[in-house]
């Protein structure tokens, strides 16, 4: 919704002529309701529901085999769900064949028609709709200009680069004003550099045409950049759906936390407004409120949310967890990566005691403690260097507390 409002406020200076002519409708462009699907014995989708708002771009993120492609094919009408509904602009299209749904699919292979030139590919949707020649030509001209392929209009698909082919594929679907655009791993076949470049281009293009779109990807970076919202799929069910900020910073499940970016995971118990992990106690009044006393929980936090310090003075907003020892220091390009072993077996320091007095782990003879991953930005890493064996105090700026169901059926 946030993104939608942002788009609406931007639209003053943008050409919105490609938006479908139903701006006044409820605001939900596409809606998937309780979709389930099996292939033979294997369950592919289980009760998946989500909405795509007008002008919004939603990313379905999941590993291969998570069922994301199947959802896309079901929305497009290329696959039938076993149960559930697909609703496009308020109309139930579950039983309509693909050609009557008016959706645009951008296939991973682009699926351009090999015996047609660029302009014929783009004009195909209007041709089979028997639109007058003049209208067809004008539309094709405008779209070719929109995707900046003026020099290539007479070429055949095999004469174009991957990025150009993809732009043709997008223009081909925009020609008939689709209700929703569906992108099936749109950048899968491209090299890393083109991928980043093209994804910005498409983002800008979508802002311009304001057609609601659904992307499919397994690339988290892509998801964070392309999506107004991200839906994380795991093994056929929806784990979490929200803005990139929500899913990244407030993951609701362990899967989301670990699939989207790196995450450290510690098992503990919720007691008296803290998360107790071994002898360490992390103050978490707000985060533990929804758990009952003594309930088993998972503490999930990102490597960049860990703050460390050689004395007990952790920066403002950083909640003290425990002490630890630096085990490894790696430099990984843009940031520094540390492996730190946490001391979770010794008693917590009393306030007046010298902060690092009790650390006994990680002697050459004994390597104990729980390893976690910590990353620090380059300026910070340069300003204050750590080396293997340094004893540090460890705190967290941000973390999530999740219920620890050991059995999936308790979910």
């Amino acid at each position: 919704m946030i993104a939608k409002m942002k788009l609406a406020s931007d639209s003053g200076q943008l050409d919105v002529s490609w938006a479908p002519d139903r701006e006044k409708s409820s605001g939900v462009a596409a809606s998937v309701r309780g979709i389930s699907k099996r292939f033979k014995k294997a369950k592919v989708l289980e009760d998946v529901s989500f909405d795509v708002a007008e002008g919004e771009s939603l990313v379905l993120l999941g590993a291969s085999g998570s069922g994301k492609t199947t959802i896309l094919r079901i929305i497009a009408g290329l696959e039938q769900p076993d149960s559930g509904y697909v609703i496009l602009h308020g109309k139930d299209v579950t039983d309509l064949p693909a050609r009557e749904r008016g959706v645009g699919v951008i296939f991973q292979s682009y699926a351009l028609f090999p015996r047609m030139t660029v302009e014929k590919n783009i004009g195909y949707g209007l041709k089979i709709r028997h639109r007058p020649r003049k209208e067809r030509r004008e539309t094709v001209d405008r779209l070719i200009e929109l995707v900046q392929l003026e020099k290539h209009r007479k070429k055949y698909p095999w004469q174009l680069s991957g990025g150009q082919q993809q732009r043709v594929a997008i223009a081909r679907t925009l020609a008939y004003k689709p209700q929703v655009l569906l992108f099936d791993e749109p950048f899968g076949a491209l090299d890393a550099q083109t991928r980043v470049h093209l994804r910005r281009e498409i983002r800008a293009l979508l802002r311009q045409v304001r057609v609601p779109s659904v992307f499919i990807t397994h690339d988290q970076e892509e998801a964070l950049e392309l999506g107004d919202r991200i839906a994380v799929l795991n093994d056929g069910h929806l784990e979490q759906i929200g803005t990139p900020d929500e899913v990244y910073n407030h993951p609701e499940t362990e899967f989301v936390a670990t699939f989207l970016g790196a995450a450290n995971l510690l098992l503990g118990v919720a007691t008296q407004g803290t998360v107790e992990i071994g002898t360490a106690k992390l103050p978490a009044e707000k985060e533990t409120r929804r758990f009952r006393e003594g309930q088993s929980v998972k503490l999930v936090f990102r490597p960049e949310d860990v703050c460390i310090s050689k004395d007990a003075n952790l920066p403002e907003g950083c909640r003290r967890l425990t002490n630890g020892v630096i085990q490894e220091v790696d430099f990984v390009g843009a940031y520094q990566r540390l492996t730190v072993r946490l001391d979770l077996t010794h008693r917590q320091q009393p306030e007046d005691e010298a902060p690092l007095y009790q650390v006994t782990i990680n002697t050459p003879e004994r390597m104990t403690g729980v390893p976690i991953m910590v990353t620090r930005p380059k300026p910070e890493a340069n300003a204050l260097r750590y080396k293997t064996g340094d004893r540090v105090a460890i705190g967290l700026t941000s973390f999530s507390v999740l219920p620890n169901y050991t059995l999936v059926k308790n979910r």
């Binding site: 497009a76 009408g77 290329l78 064949p97 693909a98 050609r99 009557e100 749904r101 008016g102 959706v103 645009g104 699919v105 296939f107 991973q108 292979s109 699926a111 028609f113 090999p114 015996r115 047609m116 195909y124 949707g125 089979i128 709709r129 081909r172 679907t173 008939y176």
Partner: protein, 259 residues
């Protein structure tokens, strides 16, 4: 002991002329010389004789009949071959593989046996033919020749078209469907253009094979000169009766050169 590499002797790739030479050397007695001998033999008494035997009424009729029957067999094979390939690669059903094998079976059957089987079915006393009245009999008419041609050459057309269907990306047809095309529009605008090459080569193969078809035609055509005698039989009759060798030459030359 290490053998010296024979590729690239002073920058010259020995493998290239050697392989080309070997290929031509093997082809020579097997393919090239037999073809050449027909031409030499056919034109040994001069081009004039060659021409006159080519335009002899019987020969002209036989050639025409061959071409016409082959044309219809080709037309049918391409159309039905397309249809069968479409059905067999797009729909999965029980016994599909059995059908695919069955279609290719006629290539393994001696063509004379193929002709005989047609006789057993359509002949005057055949399984179906017996229910036809005297003047409805199709054996020993040009139709019989077309039937025999279809029977023998269908696997060729099918065999060329089917693999192209199989390897063609489904997403092209799916893209066309999502754009809004009906099945027929998709087939006409998207599928068919991609099959152009396969259709042309399938048609050429079928036609070439049908024009020269002998074994099955001899059984079903009746070989009636001026009525159902096709080009290959002119050659055969003339050579077996040995009345005039020259008569057989032209049609066979023609048959060779056209294919």
């Amino acid at each position: 002991m290490k053998l010296p590499a024979i590729r690239h002797v002073r920058g010259f790739d020995v493998a290239r002329p050697l392989s080309i030479g070997a290929m031509l050397g093997i082809m020579l007695p097997l393919v090239l010389l037999p073809l050449l001998s027909i031409f030499i033999f056919g034109t040994s008494k001069g081009l004039g004789v060659f021409w006159s035997s080519l335009v002899a009424p019987e020969a002209v009729f036989a050639l025409k009949l061959s071409i016409v029957t082959s044309f219809w067999a080709t037309a049918f094979n391409v159309l039905f071959g397309l249809f069968a390939a479409y059905v067999l690669s797009r729909y999965d059903f029980w016994g599909r593989n059995a059908v695919i094998v069955t279609i290719s079976l006629p290539t393994a059957i001696p063509t004379a046996v193929a002709g005989f089987s047609l006789l057993l079915l359509w002949g005057k006393y055949g399984m179906i033919g017996r229910y036809f009245s005297e003047d409805q009999q199709i054996m020993f008419t040009p139709f019989a020749i077309i039937l025999a041609n279809i029977f023998v050459t269908f696997p060729l057309a099918f065999g060329v078209i089917k693999p192209v269907f199989d390897t063609m990306s489904r997403s092209l047809e799916e893209a066309s469907a999502t754009i809004g095309a009906t099945r027929w529009q998709t087939f006409w605008h998207v599928t068919l253009p991609s099959l152009r090459g396969a259709i042309v080569s399938g048609a050429l193969l079928t036609f070439a094979r049908a024009v020269g078809e002998f074994g099955s035609t001899i059984l079903v055509s009746g070989n009636l000169a001026g009525r159902t005698q096709t080009a290959p039989f002119i050659s055969l009759r003339n050579s077996t009766k040995a009345k005039s060798k020259r008569q057989m030459r032209s049609p066979s030359c023609w048959l060779c050169s056209h294919s």
